[in-house]
Symmetry: C2
Subunit: 386 residues, 2 copies
């Protein structure tokens, strides 16, 4: 196990009716901006519950954050935050709303030329942020209990991740009731997103972390068990609660303590969203099996361990690793998530060339847990997902 | 799953050489009291590493905290803290040192008559504490990442637990290297302590927490796997690292999120320490199987699940539950931890009467996850551990 630091001060309020608890957690004289997305919170009761809890605060609203939050939209919000002297940001919605809010919190305080400088591969380091919190209505990104955010920029067709300890939510409310009305497509996307988050921190190589391995397998096994139930019985509170908690635990930093991490499926997947507009989780379902098959020798021990412990497979390491990949594709497909580019009418060679060229132009060093992901490898992985 | 709040802002610094990292984490102009125990830190290099990291700070030392930290000793430290205007407490040692330090942090700021009022069953609620942090050298109590502490009082032969969010460590260093020189007895005690902490939050009844169940089983399986290795190869860093991380994860609040908890083994065990001076973990190894056998009908589903998933048992729920208790006793004994009162030369009926009478005199309502633990039940449980 490697040395590590773990520090996660976000307060979680979990369960039915917990939105009402936020009143005492926001500093009393705050000027609050309530940030939301396309309007689902008007249909599921979350808007009313939130407004009620915010009674007595000076509140302005900013709606219309997109499913992949756009830099351009966030910068419009930043203007309002500044002119209206907002002191506290409350994200109400899914991971995209929260990610956009995190970016706004940093951008508002940034004195440099362009806050896009914070994103992956850029050089600026933020040193101040507005305080923020969230009411999370979609179990998927884990954004409610971490320091990550992902933003897309129209003008450059880029989608990049960022990280700053300054934008950890002060608190996050997770009320599983608010997720029972999610469209089936978003429910399935959320399961796959949480699943792949876990795998990015697990399916690498053994590193003497038996507890971390088992904690990751705990999340994987629960997603494999509960995900299909949510497809069958979308209004089951217990199932939704389990999916919500899996999603948070998948990406709050616990399972990766002292362990190697991959994240190449995410980095490649982001390009497919940026170029073709495919839902984030769906890009992961396409890319992950390609990364795994390409690096099966490097990853076989962990893939076989997953196969045996989570999927109940038997056989040699090679057999279990190979079957585990196959079964994972079947799991994604069983949730209605396609795993090949042709399912989206995309020519794999074209996509492989375009994505590979983008990485080439960035001169990024090899990435993934062994630093082996190069533009040439990316080409082959995407080509294999025809 | 029940509604819950989770908030744990302690920063963990884990791994070889991490004591050196504390320099930047203590507020610059602090007057530090370094609190330690019987002197093991002078033999394992921890004292030198800590003093080096504290160079530049104004530091005083307070040694001699006992294995069961005594109220009387803590109050002597509090006097020094006040007269010397100490502003930051650094606990260096095992859980007893840290628990004592937590109590001191509260007692220093308490304006009421006697800080013993904070302990279990009393009425005073602390509202202020000195800031504190820890360098944890013994994986057992989990005190490094929680808000709990346990204190003993000579004059009344009492041992009580306390809880306050005010005394969560600001940071805790866990360097597994510092644990490789632990006596075998303390290593074994630590494994059993962490194991029973997990069981107090797990071996109750099913409550629709499949992720929490598996997270608890992850800790249990790793302790069962790594504990015996530490007996065989005490200097193995990897094994020590795994035991350390299990200990922290067993009692940082994650596995009990939304789940019922028992803690009757601890409450009964505390009395055996208070009356007979038996090591804390060893009292747990005596009491736990007694609680389980007495409530086997109430606990059988979870005991069987543990038996199947962690111990690899097969059979009916009843068979697996019964075998799981037997195998757990054998596990404790295999670590050199006796599980019966006669092993300590104690008459079980006498002990049963004395402990039962103590609970009777406190008029405490029934406790345990179903509120069924009464003085009469305590009598029978202790009597069964002859």
């Amino acid at each position: 196990m490697n040395n590590f630091q773990y520090h996660n001060p976000t307060r979680i309020l979990f369960g039915k009716g917990e939105i009402a608890s936020i009143t005492s957690l926001i500093p009393p004289s705050s000027k609050v901006m309530m940030v939301y997305g396309g309007g689902s919170i008007f249909k599921n009761g979350v808007y009313e519950q939130t407004k009620k809890a915010l009674k007595g605060f000076d509140v302005i609203e900013f709606g219309g954050i997109e499913a992949n939050p756009r830099y351009e939209t966030c910068m419009r919000a930043v203007e309002q935050i500044k002119t209206q002297n907002v002191t506290f940001l409350l994200a109400v919605g899914g991971g995209s709303v929260l990610d956009g809010t995190k970016f706004m919190a940093l951008a508002t305080k940034y004195t440099g030329a362009d806050p896009w400088d914070f994103m992956l591969g850029k050089t600026a380091t933020p040193n101040s942020a507005l305080p923020l919190a969230s009411i999370m209505t979609l179990p998927a990104t884990g954004s409610e209990m971490n320091a990550n955010f992902v933003i897309s920029r129209d003008s450059t067709q880029e989608k990049f991740g960022g990280y700053s300890d300054l934008i950890r939510p002060q608190f996050s409310v997770i009320d599983p009731m608010t997720t029972t009305t999610l469209p089936i497509r978003q429910t399935a996307n959320g399961v796959v997103d949480s699943f792949v988050h876990t795998m990015e921190q697990y399916a690498t190589f053994p590193n003497n972390g038996p507890l971390q391995d088992r904690q990751a397998e705990a999340v994987l096994a629960t997603l494999v068990e509960e995900g299909p139930k949510a497809m069958q019985a979308p209004e089951d509170y217990d199932v939704r609660a389990n999916l919500c908690w899996c999603s948070t635990q998948a990406l709050n930093g616990v399972i990766s303590c002292g362990m190697p991490q991959d994240w190449s499926t995410h980095d490649i997947g982001h390009e497919l969203t940026a170029l073709y507009g495919i839902d984030h989780a769906r890009t992961l379902a396409i890319v992950l099996p390609g990364v795994w098959r390409f690096f099966i020798n490097e990853k076989k021990e962990k893939l076989a361990q997953y196969g045996k412990r989570v999927l109940g497979l038997n056989g040699s390491v090679e057999e279990c690793a190979s079957q585990a990949i196959q079964k994972t594709e079947e799991f994604f497909e069983s949730l209605g998530i396609p795993t090949h580019l042709k399912d989206y009418g995309i020519n794999a060679s074209d996509a492989a060339r375009m994505v590979s060229d983008r990485f080439k132009s960035r001169n990024r060093p090899g990435f993934g847990e062994r630093g082996l992901i190069t533009p040439e490898v990316i080409y082959k992985i995407i080509e294999s997902r025809a």
